[in-house]
């Protein structure tokens, strides 16, 4: 393993995953360095879950994929010792008691810390003596997240981990993610539908649309490359003439229109509007929209 690959946790080149004739993931290439929080965005069926499965050896891909220097399909067990994966949060065994699950995981996972898990569980409303089947969905999610957070992994792959959690619990999860996980050596890949909420946490974003990678970029670069101009309705036609990626509304009233450009908009337009940071949602819609979808449907 070269020094460079120690810093790059995931390398994908021309990665595809096929289900029969259907390309769930289509010729995707990207790198994930250490110390990042990567958001994986896409509509339902875009290939997010499949991509994540390929990264943990549960789906066999074509092309090149290296995760923590290993081939996930061949070295799945070794990989899962240093990477942790939440495929879905409603999947804990229903017959088990929470404390027994902690004990089982200590035996089954070399980097799991039972003390850490119990400490994290104490912060939630989940009791150690509770049986999973008596817990509400939100509590199952909290328990699962606490268990996974107690694993000392270099890569965390989370498929919609906050589904079913209320706002306070989501906040607590994000706090825990930042405070426990962001040491500059670990990376997190997280897919979620609550893009607005998580946008400020992300350092990078991967946008998938129908299996294809539409954008692989850091948030810093988004600020530099994409420009949104908010403007009055009066200049809407002039804005449209410059062929922006997307035209949308950011607020009520006449000044609430906006146009999103890839690259610097023409100078005369910049004078007519006010420069803004495009939100991730707007950028996503702009790059993946189908004519029948509007902004609220994401």
């Amino acid at each position: 393993m070269t020094v460079a690959s120690q810093d790059t946790l995931v390398e994908a080149r021309n990665l595809s995953v096929l289900y029969g004739a259907r390309r769930a993931v289509d010729d995707v290439s990207f790198d994930i360095p250490k110390g990042r929080i990567v958001g994986l965005l896409g509509h339902n069926g875009a290939g997010k879950s499949t991509l994540m499965k390929a990264m943990v050896g549960l789906a066999r891909p074509q092309g090149e994929l290296k995760v923590l220097g290993l081939d996930p399909w061949r070295d799945r067990v070794a990989l899962l010792q240093s990477a942790c994966y939440i495929p879905d949060v409603a999947i804990l065994p229903r017959w088990v008691r929470v404390d027994d699950l902690v004990t089982l995981m200590s035996g089954l996972h070399p980097r799991f810390s039972a003390d850490r898990a119990r400490q994290l569980l104490r912060r939630t409303s989940v009791g150690l003596a509770d049986k999973v089947k008596t817990l509400s969905k939100g509590m199952v999610v909290q328990a699962h997240l606490a268990l996974v957070a107690a694993i000392d992994a270099r890569l965390m792959i989370l498929d919609e981990p906050t589904l079913g959690l209320d706002v306070l619990s989501r906040k607590a999860f994000y706090e825990m993610l930042i405070e426990e996980w962001c040491d500059g050596e670990r990376s997190v890949v997280i897919s979620t539908h609550q893009v607005e909420e998580i946008e400020s946490l992300l350092s990078d974003v991967l946008m998938l649309n129908e299996g294809k990678l539409v954008l692989a970029i850091s948030l810093e670069e988004i600020d530099r490359r994409f420009v949104a101009l908010s403007h009055d309705a009066a200049v809407a036609d002039e804005m449209a003439a410059a062929h922006p990626l997307l035209r949308y509304r950011v607020g009520p009233g006449p000044g609430g229109s906006a146009a999103l450009f890839d690259g610097e908009p023409p100078a005369h337009l910049q004078a007519l509007g006010r420069r803004m940071r495009p939100s991730l949602v707007d950028l996503f819609v702009a790059l993946t929209r189908k004519p029948e979808l509007d902004r609220t449907q994401f």
Partner: protein
């Protein structure tokens, strides 16, 4: 395999209540019957302790209890094993297990080991101890409280232990003969869910009819029959002669003969291994296991 013990522990955590209930219920019933049931003897006075009846009864009770608990738990295991491939699919916890660093092989092999080997052996021990407990109660009722201790243990102990040992030693042999059927069932429920067993039965039925027509002899059913018979004999009566204890024989002599019978029976069962059927059975079972590992690997990929 460092995951051996935790995986065994998983089975225990999941099944401990059912196991305890099924193992202890027959014993509890036995205790009740022994303590309060109708036992008819000639005369009301305590029978002489060195008479034939108490010791033969004690032996029968111990052997019977052992056998009953063994059979109940083995049947339970067979039922659990038949649904093993799909058991975590209903609550989707299979995805949880797949997210842990466990190989497909050990995730399938350890539960099979637990249910097919460890559980029946544990059942033998539980049955043995329970049988002793019941025999204490029974003999006390028949011949007074201290009578149990005065039973001819020199002959009784080896005889009861020999029965347990015979069954324990015969278990792996029986499993060998049954392995193709068991693994085919697991594989077929993996592939076809609840219909798996039905389909397997139909396939076997059709297969044997077709082969019979083709080759003129009932090959498949003969094969299966031999497998089942060998399995049964692996546990008892491999030498063809059952364990007969006639009541007019001196009980001590009869009991003393039990270990010898058990040993001879076991050697006969071992002798039955020298047959191409053994290899065939192992090959089919191993092939099914390999296919199961492959199935588990492929089924982890689900549509997005």
């Amino acid at each position: 395999m460092t995951h051996f013990l935790p995986l065994i522990r998983r089975e225990w955590l999941q099944h401990r209540f059912g196991w305890s209930l099924l193992a202890l219920l027959p014993l509890a019933l036995g205790l009740l019957v022994a303590g309060f049931g109708q036992v008819e003897f000639d005369g009301d006075s305590p029978l002489p302790v060195d008479g034939a009846l108490p010791v033969m009864l004690a032996f029968a009770v111990v052997a019977g209890a052992t056998a009953i608990v063994f059979i109940v738990m083995s049947l339970t295991s067979l039922i659990i094993v038949s649904g093993l491939a799909r058991r975590d699919h209903a609550d989707r916890s299979i995805e949880f297990w797949l997210s842990l660093p466990l190989s497909h092989g050990e995730s399938l092999a350890v539960p099979l080991l637990v249910h097919l080997v460890l559980v029946p052996v544990a059942a033998l021990l539980v049955g043995l101890l329970g049988g002793y407990a019941i025999s204490i109660v029974l003999v006390a009722r028949m011949a007074g409280p201290a009578a149990w201790l005065e039973l001819p243990w020199g002959a009784l102990l080896p005889a009861t232990l020999a029965i347990v040992a015979r069954l324990a030693a015969g278990l792996p042999l029986a499993l060998l003969w049954l392995s193709p059927l068991i693994m085919l069932t697991v594989l077929s429920t993996a592939l076809f869910r609840r219909w798996g067993i039905v389909l397997l039965a139909v396939a076997i039925g059709l297969g044997s009819t077709v082969l019979e027509r083709l080759f003129g002899q009932p090959m498949l059913s003969q094969l299966l029959g031999r497998l089942l018979r060998n399995a049964g004999q692996a546990l008892a009566s491999a030498s063809g002669t059952g364990l007969t204890l006639r009541s007019d024989d001196d009980p001590l002599v009869a009991l003393q003969g039990v270990p010898g019978w058990a040993l001879a029976d076991l050697s006969a069962a071992l002798g039955a291994l020298a047959s191409p059927l053994t290899l065939g059975a192992l090959v089919v079972a191993a092939a099914c296991f390999a296919l199961l590992v492959n199935w588990r690997q492929r089924s982890s990929k689900a549509a997005d």
